[in-house]
Symmetry: C2
């Protein structure tokens, strides 16, 4: 078991990573002294699969609990759904000491954090991520969101949880496609920040794909540490330090959007986006060709696509122009300047972007 | 003209109070360098009355602007309305540099701040309060909110504006009932914090009720300074310093709620709540009887009710138990310990509360 601290003065919190730790949530939560009435937002699948572990642990530590189920789709990340939860929560909350728990993947995490940040202008909440993607990325950092018709995550807040508890055991039932997709973000951390993690991935990728618990615990804890360090220095994305976490996301978002979020999932699109960003990095002389090949090989071995199928080239380019991060500049790219090193460049010539994207067709 | 600074490190902002200053908004806003595309949330009445002043000033300084009208009722403070605005705003915002402006009273201010805090996880916004209540109170401090079925302001955020501009000229058309209602909050500031303001009010209340501009400017600037000082020390209500601003609000909210927010408006209910809190303060030996009489006289002279009519005594007591501020304690009261001095007490005996409320029937 590893404990990682996110240092944010009054908003600091621990990330606990380990096996079999969901069963110990009750005692962990008691120590936090935040409240005794758990309002657990989850989806029917997760509740059926792991709800009893959670329930037993909490009841043994004298917590009350209530489940609120949301459908397990991106459509749940809506203002309408947030309104439904807030209505139910406020009707339920009669003189209670509410703690909200996000028990699920990224959708449940983003939505629950959003609701928690709004209810009574901020109610304590904890993250209990059940997918690899949520454990290595979305549960950490306090970005909450719902989608608007015009785009994903267009409404949200910065609001930190009181605890993130990542139980590695929950990943054993994760479908292969979700595992691969999450590995895109793990590879991202390695490329932009951590050459040792990159080497670890090269050595252990087969074991990771076989869901070896020690390997999964290592990568979850390592990614959590990397993200915690960045978030600790730039909580609300004022300094731009968090920007490097968008490596692969600029064209990744465009690829996701061009396929209406159906053709490729987030991780697959980010994998493709990293390949494009890698090509641009090579073209600009920032990254050696042989390092690019190592990145490409790792992405392929993770089971991620390296070629775009079924999408329109021009639609991706058009989507790319609508990125919400671009205000002011033509575009902004995080580029790799070596394995484990990154840099931010504005206004990359469109020809270079088109060329990098063309290679993926 | 007076400029008051709210000191909140990265979230600091000026409050400008004066006559005829709405016409100078363009130049003020240019100096802030926040963005050039104004998205103005207002109601049809305010737009018809003052929209042209705003439009002229902004266009002369090369801003673009778009109005979004909401009905002038508390019902506009809803998640549904916030969702409508967010949908319109995100459709409108194609590569713009948006600044949201709240142009109206408390409803427009709370709703606009809420939307601004959520859009892209925080978009710059300014407050252009058009009522005395908004100028002395709700536009300052960064509390944003919408109502839920279970109660007022149950969903919201802490999010600071970039500028508050209070043009005293806009108050000339304010109906008498709204003026009186706002004076309840002004009297509140005087009782809990500022003996000199209390004496000023005793001397100048007739002139204030006649909308003398110098007097209005004085009280708006004074109240803004008092609130700014408190907010500067306790931005997100962590230290409890903001709690004293709830003087008169504990029973005030219960009185409002018992009348379904129709019998008495907020200021009238706060006036009655202050009288109850004053009685309790006298009963506990904190406040002299003669000081209580001065407070009571001022409230009466402001045109506020001193007796409750058309409400059920027990319904008020029942509503009081649902106050969202009570988590843990039976109740929490801000009490006057002199003119210009206040103290916070928990778990006041119910007999004392009933007795104080009974005096108002």
């Amino acid at each position: 078991m590893k404990v990682i601290k996110v240092n944010l003065k009054n908003n600091s919190y621990p990330i606990i990573v380990g096996t079999g730790i969901l069963a110990k949530l009750g005692p962990y939560l008691r120590k936090l002294k935040t409240g005794s009435d758990l309002y657990i937002i989850t989806n029917p699948f997760i509740k059926a699969k792991f709800g009893n572990i959670l329930e037993k642990s909490l009841k043994n530590s004298s917590f009350t609990l209530r489940f609120h189920l949301v459908p397990d789709t991106e459509a749940s990340k809506s203002l309408a759904r947030a309104a439904k939860i807030l209505a139910d929560l406020s009707a339920y909350d009669q003189k209670k000491k509410i703690v909200i728990a996000a028990f699920g993947g990224g959708v449940v995490g983003d939505l629950s954090g959003f609701v928690a940040s709004l209810y009574k202008r901020g109610t304590p909440y904890i993250q209990l991520p059940t997918t690899l993607l949520a454990q290595v990325d979305s549960s950490i950092g306090g970005k909450t969101a719902v989608d608007l018709a015009q785009g994903k995550n267009l409404a949200g807040t910065f609001y930190q949880p009181k605890l993130v508890l990542s139980d590695i055991d929950l990943l054993q039932s994760l479908p292969r496609r979700q595992l691969s997709s999450a590995l895109a973000e793990v590879i991202k951390y390695a490329v932009i920040l951590d050459p040792l993690l990159f080497v670890y991935l090269e050595k252990n990728l087969s074991r990771i794909l076989a869901k070896n618990k020690a390997c999964l615990e290592f990568i979850v804890a390592r990614c959590a540490s990397l993200k915690a360090a960045i978030v600790s220095r730039d909580e609300v994305e004022r300094l731009g330090l968090r920007t490097i976490l968008n490596f692969g996301h600029t064209l990744g978002h465009a690829i996701e959007a061009a396929g209406d979020f159906k053709t490729y999932n987030h991780g697959e699109a980010v994998g493709l986006g990293m390949l494009c960003a890698g090509s641009i990095s090579v073209s600009l002389g920032l990254l050696k060709e042989k390092d690019f090949k190592r990145i490409e090989k790792l992405i392929l071995r993770a089971g991620l696509p390296a070629r775009i199928k079924g999408l329109d080239f021009n639609k991706i380019i058009a989507s790319h122009y609508h990125d919400k991060k671009f205000s002011g500049a033509k575009n902004k790219f995080v580029l790799a300047s070596g394995i484990g090193r990154s840099t931010i460049k504005m206004n990359i010539p469109l020809d270079l972007i088109r060329e990098a994207l063309r290679e993926r067709f």
